[in-house]
C-alpha cells in the first residue's frame, strides 16, 4: 500500500511538471504579447522601452532557458515575480487564496450535504414528487450559467428583498479580524469578534449557494443514478426478501455500492471549483483566486498563469489520488488487482 502511494506520488509530481510544460508552451506559442498588455501602445512603440521590459522579465532569453529558470524556481518553491503586480507570485497567492478556500470549501460542503441525501431520496422514492423536484433542481444546477445565477440571486435576495448583504466579503462598517489564516470565519471566531463573524457568514451565503449549484446538480444526478443501479441488484432483493427494514437495505446495502461513481465525480467537481469561482467571484466582487486568475489571464502575466496552472494541476492530481485511494476503502476488490 505504501509503495503504491509512493509510486503514485512520484507519477503525480512528474505529471504536474509536464503540465506546467504544456501550459508554458501553449502560453508562449500563442501570439499574445505581455509587452503590449503591460506597457500600452505608446510605450510599446519605443524599442528601447520594449527591450528593457523584455530583459527585466527574462523574455529575451530562449524558450528552453526561460523554462529552466521557471523549473529552478519551482524546485525552491518560488514562482517568480508577477509581471502585473510586481510582487512575488507566492505573496499574491497567499493574499488571494484564503477568500477562495473559504468560499470553495463551504460550497463543496453545501453540495455534498444537500446533494447526497437528495439523490438517495430521489432514487428511493422514484417517480414521486420528491424525485421530480430533485431532478429539476439538479437539471437547473447543471444547466444554469453560474454568472447569471449569481446575478439573479443578488437581484432577488439583495436588491428586491434585502435579506442578504451585497457583494464583498465584509460590510464596509465591519472591522476585519487580524489575519492569521485569512479565513474570515476562523479568524473572527478566534479573536471572539462575533459581530464580524456573523457579518462574514452572511456575506458567504449567496456566493456559496451560487458556486455550489452546478456541483450540487452533478452530485444529485450521479447519486440518484448510482442508487437506482444499486437498488436494482440481486443482493438488494435478497436483503429485502430476508425481511430487513427498508432503511437498513438502503443505507447498509445499496448506498456503499453506489458510492464509487459518486466519489469519482465529487473529486472531479472539487477540482473544477476554481473554474466556477472565476464567475462567482466576478459578480460578487470576491477578492479571491478566481478574480486573480482572470486578471492574470487578461494581463498575460506568465509567472502568475504558470503558478495557478501548477497549483490547479497539482490539486487535480492530488484529488484524483485521494479518489483512487478511497476506492480501496469503498471497494476492497480494487486493491487485489
Amino acid at each position: 500500500m505504501i509503495a503504491y502511494v509512493a509510486s503514485r506520488l512520484v507519477t503525480a509530481c512528474v505529471m504536474v511538471v509536464l503540465a506546467s510544460l504544456v501550459v508554458f508552451l501553449i502560453a508562449n506559442t500563442v501570439p499574445g504579447d505581455p509587452v503590449l498588455a503591460q506597457l500600452g501602445d505608446l510605450a510599446a512603440a519605443n524599442p528601447a522601452v520594449v527591450a528593457a521590459f523584455r530583459h527585466r522579465w527574462g523574455l529575451d532569453l530562449p524558450l528552453w532557458e526561460r523554462y529552466w529558470v521557471f523549473l529552478q524556481g519551482l524546485a525552491h518553491g518560488d514562482f517568480g515575480e508577477s509581471i502585473a503586480s510586481h510582487r512575488p507570485v507566492l505573496e499574491d497567492l497567499r493574499e488571494y487564496a484564503p477568500a477562495t478556500v473559504e468560499l470553495g470549501m463551504l460550497a463543496f460542503l453545501l453540495s455534498l450535504v444537500i446533494g447526497l441525501p437528495l439523490g438517495i431520496l430521489a432514487a428511493v422514492k422514484r417517480d414521486t414528487w420528491i424525485d421530480n423536484a430533485a431532478r429539476l433542481v439538479s437539471l437547473i444546477g447543471v444547466s444554469a450559467p453560474t454568472f447569471w445565477l449569481a446575478f439573479v440571486m443578488l437581484a432577488i435576495f439583495y436588491g428586491a428583498l434585502d435579506w442578504a448583504p451585497g457583494p464583498g466579503r465584509l460590510s464596509a462598517s465591519a472591522f476585519p479580524p487580524t489575519p492569521v489564516t485569512g479565513l474570515l470565519l476562523f479568524d473572527s471566531a478566534r479573536s471572539g469578534d462575533w459581530e464580524t463573524f456573523w457579518d462574514a457568514a452572511a456575506h458567504l451565503v449567496l456566493p456559496a449557494i451560487v458556486l455550489a449549484s452546478s456541483t450540487l446538480g452533478l452530485i444529485t444526478r450521479t447519486t440518484r443514478a448510482a442508487m437506482l443501479e444499486a437498488l436494482g441488484q440481486d443482493y438488494v432483493r435478497t436483503a429485502r426478501a430476508k425481511g430487513l427494514p427498508g432503511r437498513a437495505v438502503v443505507v447498509g446495502h445499496a448506498l456503499p455500492n453506489a458510492m464509487l461513481p459518486v466519489v469519482t465525480l465529487a473529486g472531479l467537481a472539487f477540482a473544477n471549483l476554481l473554474a466556477g469561482a472565476v464567475m462567482t467571484e466576478t459578480v460578487f466582487s470576491w477578492p479571491g483566486l478566481g478574480r486573480y486568475t482572470f486578471r492574470a489571464a487578461v494581463a498575460i502575466d506568465f509567472p502568475a498563469i504558470l503558478a495557478i496552472t501548477v497549483i490547479v494541476a497539482a490539486q487535480f492530481v492530488l484529488v484524483n489520488l485521494l479518489v483512487d485511494l478511497s476506492y480501496a476503502v469503498l471497494d476492497p476488490r480494487t486493491v487485489k488487482r
Binding site: 501553449i26 444554469a144 489571464a297
Partner: protein
C-alpha cells in the same frame, strides 16, 4: 423485472411519452432555437444593434416584449440574434473537438504500444486543467473575437472525446467482426473508420449532445468575462455582463440568461433521452 407488467398496463401513447418524452421535448427546444437562429433577420422585430437612447431601459411592453437595454436596443431582437453566435460556437467547437479527439483516441487504441501510451499521456495532461481556465489564458493571449475564443476552446476541448473513443475502440476491437474485416484484407484505416467507429458511435453521439450545452455555457462564460465576442455583437453572455449592474432593470440580464438556460437544458434533455434509448440497461428504469 416489472417490464411485462408495465407493457400490459400502459397505453402506447403513455409509454412513448415516458420513454421518449424528455428527448422529444429537448429536441423540440433545440429545433426551435435553431430555427430562430437561422431565421433571425426575418423573425427579430428590430435591428439588434439599433440604438435608441431616448427609449433606453424600458420595461417589457407590447412594443418591446422583453424591454430595452441601456442603449435602447430591443432585448428580444438581441436574444434572437444571440442564438446564432451560441449555436455556431457550440456546434463548431464540439464537432471539431469531437472529430479530433475521436480520431486521436481511436488511433491510440488501435495502434497500441508506445504510440498509445504517448498519445494518452498527452491527453491526460490537457485533461487535468479545467477547460475554462486554460481557455481563458489562451483567449486573452489571442485577443478578443469569436473565432479566437473558439480556437482557445478547441485547444482544451478534445481530451474527453479521445478518452471515450479509446475505451470504445478497445472494447470493439476484440469482437469478431473486426477480426473478420482484418482477415478479409482491410487495412487499419479502413477497419477503424468503416468498421469500428460506426459501431461505437452511440456513446459518442450522447457525449456530443450533452457537451453542446456545456460548450455554449463555457463560451457564454468567456463572453461574460469580456473574452468572447467583440461589442456591439449580440451574444447572451455579453448581454448578461452588460446588464449585471442593472438590478432595477432586471430584464436586461435576466432574459439572455434564461435563453442560455433553456438551450443547455434542451441539450441535456436530448442527451439523456438518447442515452436511455441507446443503453438497453436503462430501459427498465
Amino acid at each position: 423485472m416489472s417490464e411485462t407488467l408495465i407493457l400490459v398496463q400502459e397505453a402506447p401513447g403513455r409509454r412513448f411519452a415516458r420513454r421518449y418524452g424528455i428527448a422529444v421535448a429537448g429536441g423540440g427546444l433545440i429545433l426551435a432555437w435553431l430555427l430562430l437562429a437561422v431565421l433571425a433577420p426575418w423573425v427579430a422585430p428590430y435591428d439588434p444593434n439599433f440604438v435608441d437612447v431616448a427609449g433606453r431601459l424600458r420595461p417589457p411592453s407590447s412594443a418591446h416584449w422583453l424591454g430595452t437595454d441601456a442603449l435602447g436596443r430591443d432585448v428580444l431582437s438581441r436574444v434572437i440574434w444571440g442564438a446564432r453566435v451560441s449555436m455556431l460556437v457550440g456546434f463548431g467547437v464540439v464537432l471539431l473537438g469531437a472529430a479530433f479527439g475521436t480520431l486521436l483516441g481511436a488511433t491510440a487504441a488501435y495502434a497500441r504500444g508506445w504510440a498509445e501510451e504517448a498519445l494518452m499521456r498527452v491527453t491526460d495532461l490537457v485533461f487535468c486543467f479545467p477547460p475554462i481556465i486554460l481557455a481563458m489564458a489562451i483567449a486573452a493571449a489571442l485577443g478578443i473575437g469569436t473565432l479566437n475564443t473558439m480556437i482557445a476552446m478547441l485547444v482544451v476541448w478534445w481530451p474527453k472525446f479521445a478518452r471515450l473513443a479509446r475505451s470504445l475502440v478497445i472494447s470493439q476491437r476484440a469482437l469478431e467482426y473486426v477480426e473478420a474485416a482484418v482477415t478479409s484484407g482491410a487495412g487499419p484505416g479502413r477497419v477503424l473508420l468503416r468498421q469500428i467507429l460506426p459501431n461505437a458511435a452511440g456513446p459518442l453521439i450522447v457525449l456530443v449532445t450533452l457537451d453542446l450545452g456545456n460548450a455554449i455555457l463555457v463560451f457564454a462564460g468567456l463572453s461574460f468575462l469580456g473574452l468572447g465576442v467583440t461589442p456591439p455583437a449580440a451574444e447572451w453572455g455579453a448581454m448578461v455582463a452588460e446588464g449585471r449592474e442593472l438590478v432595477q432593470q432586471w430584464w436586461v440580464a435576466t432574459f439572455p440568461g434564461l435563453a442560455i438556460l433553456s438551450v443547455v437544458m434542451g441539450f441535456n434533455f436530448l442527451g439523456d433521452g438518447l442515452r436511455d434509448w441507446l443503453d438497453p440497461r436503462a430501459e427498465s428504469r
